[in-house]
């Protein structure tokens, strides 16, 4: 075991994957010499050479488009989109190409590629450095979508994603890079230095895609979250004094519906959390699934706590961010229902 921030854990995963497999290559804007604006790829170019880790022109289309070609050749490209907010120019290549290549060629050509991107707010990044576009990926057949919430998972999930034979969208909550964040923006920042999940297994391991993690057992209600919202959920639950179960989804697609349904059937109440815009967000899908699976156990409607249906504002960051107060209110509401 070793102490790592999420950045270090991601870097470690890259290093191990590149050591294990010559076909793993890394590229993106500023990822080469400089090592990425968040330093997630620092040291890779020096260690593995410019042919395996290099800077690209500022063209998200080009990054993903060439990665699709590389993957079809037989490489395993791991590409970084500097912020999730900038993935749109690559969206066509992701949706129309990466996601459908195996299907339309009946397995003749495949696309084992990982597209990493920092997501979420909490750093005063405003509308172009704060978005959480996961629902735009979960709607697309052929993609897998992963969101880690801590260094231990980030490393294991990234290694599993790189090893996956299909394209994986790997969303990294940037507010968690250096420490857990429970939404109490007015308290001092935490670091991973003292958090139990900042203690990361050394060496190669995979955290299988498609398995959720019950991070707090409880019996009164089930709180479903991923990424930063896992920490918000935990804080809100402690503060609420209600015995709520908290599940970290980790992989949005494929979703570990079994674990979720088991929990909600047991507790009879459910809240889904995310930072992304409410309408047609991923919470809608989870809610629809749960009301289908657990209809006869539900004591109250499934509640969604999410970002408002507005762009992510700058000055009003903490009015936008679905923090512990909103979650606590939701817990109270769902317990009344």
């Amino acid at each position: 075991m070793a102490r790592m921030t999420m950045i270090e854990a991601i870097r470690d995963a890259h290093t191990l994957a590149m050591e294990a497999d010559d076909d793993v290559v890394v590229m993106g804007e500023d990822v080469g010499y400089f090592g990425g604006v968040f330093r997630c790829t620092a040291g890779l170019q020096k260690r593995f050479g410019v042919q395996r880790c290099f800077d690209t022109p500022i063209s998200e289309l080009g990054i993903v488009g060439t990665a699709v070609g590389m993957a079809a050749f037989g490489l395993k490209p791991v590409v970084e989109i500097q912020f999730a907010d900038y993935m749109y120019p690559a969206y066509d290549q992701i949706v129309s190409e990466a996601a459908r290549l195996r299907y339309r060629s009946a397995g003749e050509f495949t696309c084992p590629m990982v597209v990493r991107m920092p997501t979420g707010g909490g750093i005063f990044g405003a509308q172009t450095h704060s978005q959480s576009p996961e629902a735009l990926f979960t709607h697309v057949a052929g993609l897998k979508t992963v969101v880690p919430s801590n260094p231990q998972d980030a490393k294991g999930l990234l290694l599993a994603a790189i090893n996956d034979p299909d394209p994986v969208i790997f969303l990294e909550p940037k507010r968690l890079y250096n420490g857990p964040f429970d939404g109490h923006f007015d308290r001092p920042s935490q670091s991973w230095g003292k958090h139990p999940l900042g203690e990361v297994e050394t060496g190669y391991y995979e955290t299988p895609l498609g398995t959720a993690n019950i991070v707090r057992e409880g019996s009164a209600a089930t709180l479903l979250a991923y990424g930063t919202m896992v920490h918000v959920a935990l804080a809100a639950v402690e503060e609420s004094g209600v015995d709520v179960e908290v599940i970290d989804l980790r992989t949005l697609l494929p979703l570990d519906l079994e674990t979720i349904a088991e929990s909600v059937s047991r507790t009879g109440r459910c809240i889904v959390l995310h930072e992304a815009t409410l309408t047609s967000g991923y919470g809608a899908e989870v809610t629809a699934l749960i009301q289908g699976e657990c209809f006869y156990s539900l004591e109250a409607p499934v509640l969604r706590v999410a970002g408002w249906d507005t762009p992510y504002p700058h000055a009003q960051e903490w009015d936008y961010f679905p923090g512990p107060e909103r979650v606590k209110r939701a817990i109270a509401t769902v317990m009344e229902g």
């Binding site: 060439t66 050749f73 190409e97 897998k144």
Partner: protein, 410 residues
Amino acid sequence: MDKETDPQLHVPEPAIRPGDTPDFSHVEIPRAGEVRRPDPGENPQEMRDLAFSIIRVLNRKGEAVGPWADSLSDEALQEGLRHMMTLRAYDARMLKAQRQGKTSFYMQHLGEEAIACAFQKALRKGDMNFPTYRQAGLLIASGYPMSDMMNQVYSNEADPVRGRQLPVFYSSKEHGFFSISGNLATQYVQAVGWAMAAAIKGERKLSVGWIGDGSTAESDFHGALVFASTYKPPVILNIVNNQWAISTFQGIARGGAGTFAARGHGFGLPALRVDGNDYLAVHAAAAWAVERARRDLGPTLIEYVTYRAGGHSTSDDPAAYRPKEEGAAWPLGDPILRLKTHLIQKGLWSEERHTQAEAEVMDGVIAAQKEAEAIGTLHSGNRPSPREMFEDVYAEMPPHLVRQRHEVGY
């Protein structure tokens, strides 16, 4: 400052529309043999002239002339003619099959046969094309079984892509033919990525991007040129300028540039412009670009000047936007006729042999068609199971898809 003017939107218009008399006198066509052939290693900055002329080998008399001649043996030329004839016969049969309701859709190559057929012969096994829907010649020239092409067009049980794709969206890794997308231009940049991968691995393989004149306006075209220009991998970027993009003439996509080949100049890429109806010119230009790639000298951009003599697809009637006689007036002629004349002129062919070859080729196509139709056509006979609809979305079927498959009863 000179006097100001009220600005206007300048909307380019083709010189001729239905009702007018076809007129291609504005198309500047140099004489065959006129364009120089620089060494493939020459500095691209020194060969800008090649983007503004047209490399031609076959002259009016059917002779092969000039520095780009002689890239092919007699046998290869005869084989080339047969490939083009086969493609044309295949098109004719499939168009008819579509009209008979045996499939939903078809796209033909009429007038453009030389380009893919000749280009393919400059490649070797291990190279990869990223084609559009109008390059079936690549498959024919690489010996892909025609009945498999038809199985794809019919979406029958033997369709290599399991009924999932629109007719003509073939895929064959073995034959260096990348799965066709349907979204224009997207594969152009993938071709560059594939070549980057070859470069990263140090494997002696090259890739070829294909795009239509109209599609050069798409973003992926730019992405491809930016990455090709930056990393200089072994890729050849082909632009098939067949004058039309559905109903839109090439002036709309080309705008103020003299030619599509000129697009390469902004990226420091060598850019050739080639007579696309001249099998020999296409092959020679391809071979030149292939040499650049194999010597790791970097990418080449090639524009083929040709004419889409048929409709865009079976859903299109070009009489609505261009004179019916325009095709006949096209000054670069018919690629099959031109190669045939060349072979006759060389004493390698005759009218009789041609008639006989036509019959043979058609027999072959009909035999393949019988084979395919015995398996099934879109609306009749064996077709891929609905079960297959759920396969290959992922390598391993995730639980939610298993569930959905069960709902359908499989």
